[in-house]
Symmetry: C2
């Protein structure tokens, strides 16, 4: 597994370095506190997955100019802006193993620097000179806030359906990944077929990515994940592993298991022992397995979209490897 | 005075009605909580000043199509988004006499609905089909967040200079007014001279508008203003009346008056009596008079920019009346 990761990092080394430089240069001219707060979230070990997907998508679509890295950072800005606001909304304490921005600089700065990064992303979108790019970016931003609001309104509610969960993760995650890929097709002046293929890749990748994130929230631990396991549940967020297990336990009319799960979910201060019991029930009702399988299906779809349209190339290989790794990652 | 207001409202009646309809229609298709929260801030007796300025600017620049009202609401959205976030940042309790949104729906919803309105504004900007409009809007958004951050970082600090105050109010207020006017020139395909004139009008109007706002925070009262008098000071915001009075008291080396002002400023729980003392000192050192005179200069500049380029017309008359009223208003 770590072999796949190493291969990806080796292949993407130069792109990742260029993205890093573009990010640092772009933040330079701003107020100290803006740079500091933005840097805290932007340079805290992020994977640069969204900008990298954009750069690779541009390459596979035949983009010839030199602005791909500069443009790509709008996706890291959008991502960072939502992280700043979401950590506040979720009252999170840790992000990638470090204290969240609002606990250092206060809620106000977290809100305003988030707004600033959102605005910067939009300015970069405008710099592309493509109206379609701007439309994609503003739609992403609308969808992300609606996805987050939807999730927030349903917090702590046990009747969240799989369909609703899918709608939420599409809005809050998949559409940004899709956008990173689609924008590339637009600036590369790709064919309609290519644009659809790379968009489908990004969209399905994004769905799988969020599912695995939600899975890891149960199966990983703080040392690896950089935040507490079970954090989603403590915030009242029901995700697919639990949604599926609750449905299965309910359909089997096993009132004892169902009651136990509901009790642990409702008690946000659940103990480590209770969390272990919940994990056992998630396994018993195959919530974890189902989530992983569904994520795998979306990764397969993502790769199929790519392979169906683009010829074999180093870039295609890398996009496929990244998709495989998104599924197999442990953090 | 109320005669001028009545004349403005009579002349702008149809435009204001159309703006109201455009606002209501645009919010329809969204999640209930989004519509509710957004409506709370959008339909709480706002003056629609920014959209109205855009519609009138478009008309004076010769705009011929029918999308001016639809486009104009992006400025109300931008404004509402910043109000939602700023009330949170300022820990405000009242806005236009009503409880602020975050005290009803919670901080999270206020953050996320603010993000949503920001995104909607950008989507509408993209709908204009003009790259320049989008650039103006994204620059406004960047500037507004930077202005707010700047203000936040200097909260409670007594050494805020007039220059810094000017920079802050330009960023957080004047640039939005300028943008509302400038965008109209762009969509109306106005001449460069017209675009500059209407932009100058908006910019100077915005500066004066914020100065009068800051003045009214001292001279108005809760019943009229819809929030407590002295609210800015309680939030640690030093504005021009006080900045000027502090400088004058300092230059006269009147250590007793200066010490008294500083004492009251530092004590955020100042009593009504202390506030009265502060007001007397603001009068003694001409902080209120200076602010009003400087605002009047900017209104004069705004009108001069307009009159210098545009021929007499009903629309020009209305824009002039609005500028006069912004200066003379009591709330």
């Amino acid at each position: 597994m770590s072999d796949l990761k190493n291969r990806i990092l080796a292949s993407a080394k130069h792109d990742l370095e260029d993205i890093e430089i573009a990010l640092k240069q772009n933040l330079n001219p701003y107020l100290d506190v803006v740079s500091q707060t933005a840097s805290h979230i932007l340079f805290a070990g992020g994977k640069r997955l969204r900008p990298l997907l954009m750069v690779l998508s541009a390459r596979i679509c035949g983009y010839k100019s030199n602005f791909d890295k500069t443009f790509s950072i709008m996706f890291e800005y959008l991502h960072a802006a939502t992280l700043l606001h979401d950590d506040l909304v979720d009252e999170a304490t840790l992000r990638r193993g470090k204290p969240v921005a609002h606990s250092i600089w206060g809620n106000s700065i977290a809100v305003l620097v988030g707004d600033f990064l959102l605005a910067r992303a939009l300015s970069i979108a405008a710099d592309t000179g493509h109206l379609n790019v701007i439309k994609i970016i503003s739609e992403i931003t609308e969808n992300m806030s609606q996805g987050e609001i939807h999730q927030l309104m349903r917090k702590g509610q046990l009747d969240l359906s799989e369909e609703e969960y899918m709608e939420i993760i599409q809005n809050k995650t998949a559409i940004l990944f899709k956008g990173a890929c689609q924008v590339s097709a637009v600036i590369a002046d790709a064919t309609e077929k290519e644009e659809k293929a790379i968009s489908d890749y990004g969209f399905n990748f994004g769905i799988a990515f969020q599912m695995i994130d939600d899975l890891l929230d149960y199966t990983s631990n703080a040392g690896i994940l950089g935040k507490e396991a079970g954090a989603d549940l403590k915030e009242g967020k029901l995700t697919l592993p639990l949604i599926y297990a609750l449905k299965k336990a309910d359909s089997k009319a096993d009132s004892k298991d169902l009651a136990m799960m509901e009790k642990i979910i409702k008690n946000k201060d659940f103990s480590a022992d209770e969390f272990e019991i919940l994990l056992e029930l998630l396994n018993k009702y195959k919530g974890l397995k189902y989530t992983e399988e569904l994520a795998a299906k979306h990764i397969a779809k993502a790769k199929k979209a790519l392979v169906g349209v683009f010829k074999p190339s180093e870039t295609r290989e890398l996009l496929i490897n990244i998709a495989d790794y998104a599924l197999a990652r442990k953090y």
